[in-house]
């Protein structure tokens, strides 16, 4: 056992070492050494994760401290690991996707002056994320939670001279902080009532406190578990970008594409999902919290998918798609289908990484053009990118036999069978979302890869001219020097990760039998016996082939197909129609283009409001009242003193020293006279 425990340490420390070498010594060792050392770190990390994973599958779990962070009173705060099927799975996903992104970055960032810094950041991110998932206590969870937020902040603002990037990273950090605010209060309540932040102890004691109520407002008592769980979930809403704290994620696309894949799709944004699943023993004790989660997840899943349908920026389409998929995971959590949520997290990590990295490959080919209106017909120029992205898109749409089908279908079914209040609302939106998902996934593929080649003649007015006017575009900073070139396939360091990620995007779904319905998670995920949705599904599960066969007779499948069909009609068969529809349906389209006005509202109400309030408090409170009125009386004394001191102010230190001694003596005498 000792050796395997050393491996636990190696998993996060290898990327940390790489990050430190590349970050602190990057200027000395050069570009090549920076990527060699970080990728080496990632290889060690992945290998160690794999060994740990194998060990866990043998039934060996671990829960123990690494070092004592702080002792205060009778409370011990540790840094420690909990290694079980859940954390081992997350470790595999994180280290695998991260390694792929590291390799991909060699190609994508090849010409960037911040090359070493970038590698340092993504390795640091991997370290933080691993510490988050391997934690055995709430403190370290919060550490990892904020640390991934920090790296996300640094990476969104990687191109720190671009105003949009540094607006987006500040926004991301602050919106996440709103979530963390709730999260920290939830942790504080846990510490207050359980006296510890250790997962195992808290979970073991949770049943006993299930009946407790707290009176937050005089006369109104709340179930303690409901308050704790909702506060914790507010944290998840920030990190996993759930409505209304989702606003930072689309803007985070200002960061370089590799991190959109790694952080803002495959791993970091799933931290909230992971956290709720980890806390299932607590969440199972509060039906109210689960209902809340269901509703939030449903709103996110459906309404964010709608926004994806009108975006032109290839990365933003995928970003809104990520929001929607996270919504599905959240709904699954609310329906007590934790294993389904983690399974969707697992499959989504692969196919969303493929989509983002593929989009990056397109962006390279288009010389940093991200606007799909200036693409089209790319399939024949970059076949590997096309095929791998197609796999990702089909998986994203939830069509069999690709990975996304199994996980999404399970979630929809679980919602159907769930008895928790709000489940039916969620079910309706989830099913409707399947249609939208099919549509936007294939819209992206058709728009970018099929149809007319619009990259060469984007100066000429054509069918999309009307659309061009209707929206400010999100052109990249390098735009403008690629008009004459023919796009071509990206180098191997770029397409190889695509292929390696496309494979699990096809096949990962086939593990559903053990993963969701088997004993894969053991006792890690707790489901209350009264929440029967997953148990019912398990009874009806008869293998993957039967599941696919059965799907063809269900509504979601045909809705996804219909969505894909609509995309074909609009973007392949009749490419003039979208322009017409935008004019005819200008009101709903504007609402979607404006993202429901949330960004405007937040900027006006929260950012503007805080500034106005601060300004008011300062000018009225500090300057006018305290200094103006209260210190005003003293001010006259001040001027009197000033006149006096002007004579004393000789600038010679011994005068002051003399005054100091006199003063001290004076004070002493004063003291003794009164005695």
């Amino acid at each position: 056992m000792l050796d395997i425990q050393k491996l636990y340490l190696l998993v996060p420390l290898a990327p940390l070492g790489g990050a430190m070498i590349a970050g602190l010594l990057g200027w000395a060792i050069g570009r090549r050494a920076a990527h060699v050392v970080t990728i080496l770190g990632m290889l060690v990390c992945l290998a160690a994760s794999w060994l740990v994973y194998q060990d866990v599958m043998q039934g060996n779990t671990f829960n123990g401290p690494v070092y004592t962070w702080l002792v205060s009173g009778n409370i011990n705060f540790f840094v420690g690991f909990l290694i079980d099927p859940l954390s081992a799975t997350m470790m595999m996903v994180v280290s695998f996707v991260s390694l792929m992104v590291h390799i991909y970055t060699i190609g994508y960032m090849a010409e960037d002056p911040g090359y070493q810094r970038f590698f340092s950041y993504i390795s640091l991110f991997t370290f933080s994320m691993l510490m988050l998932v391997m934690s055995n206590n709430f403190l370290q969870l919060f550490f990892g939670w904020e640390a991934v937020g920090l790296v996300s902040y640094l990476l969104i603002g990687f191109w720190y001279t671009r105003p949009t990037a540094i607006y987006a990273n500040l926004k991301a950090f602050l919106v996440n902080r709103v979530g963390d605010f709730g999260f920290l209060l939830g942790i504080a309540l846990i510490l207050t009532y359980f006296g510890t932040l250790d997962y195992a102890t808290v979970f073991a004691g949770s049943e006993k406190l299930a009946g407790n109520v707290i009176e937050l407002l005089p006369g109104y008592s709340w179930s303690l578990m409901t308050v704790i769980c909702i506060l914790l979930f507010v944290g998840a809403m920030g990190k996993s970008a759930q409505f209304p704290l989702h606003v930072w994620l689309p803007d985070s696309m200002e960061g370089p594409t590799p991190i959109s894949a790694l952080i803002h799709a495959a791993t970091m944004v799933t931290a909230g999902i992971f956290m709720v699943a980890r806390m299932s023993p607590l969440f199972e004790l509060s039906e109210t919290a689960l209902s809340f989660i269901l509703v939030i997840g449903a709103i996110t899943a459906f309404f964010m998918a709608l926004v994806a349908t009108v975006q032109y920026d290839i990365k933003r389409v995928i970003a809104y798609s990520t929001l929607s998929q996270l919504g599905y995971m959240t709904m699954a959590l609310g329906a007590s289908a934790y294993s389904a949520a983690i399974f969707h997290l697992f499959t989504h990590a692969f196919f969303k990484a493929v989509l983002f990295l593929g989009a990056g490959s397109v962006i390279i080919a288009m010389h940093h053009q991200q606007d799909m209106r200036k693409m089209g017909g790319l399939a024949k120029y970059m076949p590997i990118t096309y095929l791998t992205m197609l796999i990702g898109a089909i998986a994203n749409a939830g069509l069999p036999p690709f990975a996304g089908f199994f996980s999404k279908e399970t979630i929809v079914d679980a919602l159907h069978h769930a008895t928790i209040p709000g489940a039916q609302f969620a079910y309706v939106l989830a099913v409707a979302g399947v249609f939208v998902g099919g549509f936007y996934s294939f819209r992206l593929m058709f728009y970018a890869f099929h149809g007319a080649e619009r990259f060469a003649d984007s100066h000429h007015p054509d069918v999309i001219a009307a659309e061009l006017e209707s929206q400010s575009d999100h052109d990249d900073h390098h735009d403008g020097h690629g008009k004459a070139h023919t796009p071509h396939e990206s180098p191997m360091v770029v397409w190889l990760p695509l292929v390696l990620l496309a494979i699990p995007s096809i096949g990962a779904g086939w593990f559903i039998g053990t993963f969701v319905y088997g004993s894969y998670f053991g006792s890690t995920l707790t489901v209350s016996p009264s929440h029967t949705a997953m148990a019912t599904l398990a009874e009806h599960f008869h293998g993957v082939t039967a599941m696919m066969a059965h799907a063809t007779s269900t509504l979601p499948f045909w809705l996804a197909v219909a969505g894909a069909g609509c995309a074909w009609v609009l973007y392949v068969a009749y490419p003039t129609w979208p322009g017409v529809m935008r004019k005819e349906l200008s009101v709903p389209v504007t609402i979607l283009m404006e993202k429901y006005g949330l960004d405007r509202f937040n900027d006006w109400f929260f950012a503007g409001g805080a500034r106005a309030l601060g300004s008011g408090l300062w000018r009225v409170g500090d300057v006018a009242i305290i200094d103006g009125t209260l210190v005003n009386g003293a001010a006259r004394v001040v001027s009197w003193f000033a006149a006096l001191f002007r004579q004393l102010q000789s600038g010679y230190i011994y005068h002051y020293a003399f005054a100091m001694i006199i003063g001290a003596l004076l004070l002493l005498t004063l003291a003794f006279i009164s005695y």
């Binding site: 919060f142 540094i166 605010f181 504080a188 305290i626 001040v638 002051y656 002493l668 005695y675």
Partner: protein
Amino acid sequence: MMHELPLLSLAIWLPIIAGIAVLLTGGDRDARVARVIALIGAVMGFVVTLPLYAGFDIHQRDFQFVEIKTWIETFGVYYHLGIDGISLLLILLNSLTTVIVVIAGWTVIQTRVAQYMAAFLVLSGLMNGVFAAQDALLFYVFFEATLIPMFIIIGVWGGPNRVYAALKFFLYTLMGSLLTLVALIYLYNAAGGSFAMRDLYQLALPFDLQVLVFMAFFVAFAVKVPMWPVHTWLPDAHVEAPTGGSVVLAAIMLKLGAYGFLRLSLPIVPDASIYLAPMMIGLSLIAVIYIGLVALVQSDMKKLIAYSSISHMGFVTMGIFLFNTQGVEGAIIQMISHGFVSGGLFLCVGVLYDQMHSRQISDYGGVAKRMPVFAALFMLFAMANSGLPGTSGFVGEFLVIMGATQVNFWFAFSAAITLIFGAAYTLWMYKRVVFGDVVNPQVDALVDVNAREFLALGLFAILVLVMGLWPQPFANLIHTSVSELLAHVSYSKLPLPAQ
């Protein structure tokens, strides 16, 4: 405890003597000599505090390294020194900060170098005196005496409006302290002619008098912390002070007030402290929220950091008056951490100011492009100021929020808002100064930190990280002292009510 060397006296007088020695070098003709002597004095001042750390017994409940000598026999005033873990941490912080300040002022100060260095050395010794004094009058003398060098530092080497700021600082704090003297004299009489703190701790004062004494102390210490609404001297003082003055002011001087609450208010008048705790917590929360919002709209970097200091000190005063282990230990750790973080931030502003002669945020933008190393260090301090886990800024705030939840959920709720505000004002400033494109040609001409600046910032940076990743060694020093302190508050000095 017997020691061959009177270590505490050394910690106090060595910097003061070094300061006098520096003064003796005279004017600016021998500036280099003055600097070298000052550095030697500061380093030695720090070195003599190391045996304090090494020899400190963390389980000892009594004060350690005690020295008692008669000062004024007829009045029963003693030169009585001794420290507990809380004092020890502050003395270490103070002595180290002095070294950093001397390094930071090395080339920046070109006029009256000897006087400048001397003022900081003397100030350092006096503040060690405050932290080591076990006689209330001695405490008071040191406490008041610290005003003078700081007054000089602001008034002589400060900005254009320095006289106003220095006077505001001086009068505000002096006015606060006079009532304390009255209270001390009263206590002296009540204790039968003793200023010894351990005698004052034993005094069983009636409730009304406890409240009076508390209020007298409160005025002095609240001004020093500073607590809302007696905080308006601090932004002015910071803006006008030279970089070194701002660093010492934020890192150490503000702690004198909080230390006064811990050393005098709580043990001497525990019933009044408990009775008035809601007021103290209320004022602290106003500091956290109101001042957090005010910090957001500042256009002057130093003013912004000054307001941020007030907001962060709100956590200190709040933690103290929660009367539980997490609260008080969090408050003390926050005091130390705030020393590193605000010290580092003021140094950062100083580095920019020395080259640009502007503190206005709007004059900057794109600094990262010209000063990448500086930008990285500045980022670390900015994140610590935002309370990011892994930096020292998180530890104290976290513990105080944990302690607050045990008392009242809404206290914790209000305090935790700093998570949002703290990040907002700090990172928004950082964004406007460091990120973005270079617009101002002066920014384009900036050069990155030199070795001396790197050393000064690096020392604080390492401390920020060490304390954030492993606060246990720091906390170990204060466990016994805090439990001793809480023992004072845990029983009432009032006679039991007649049944």
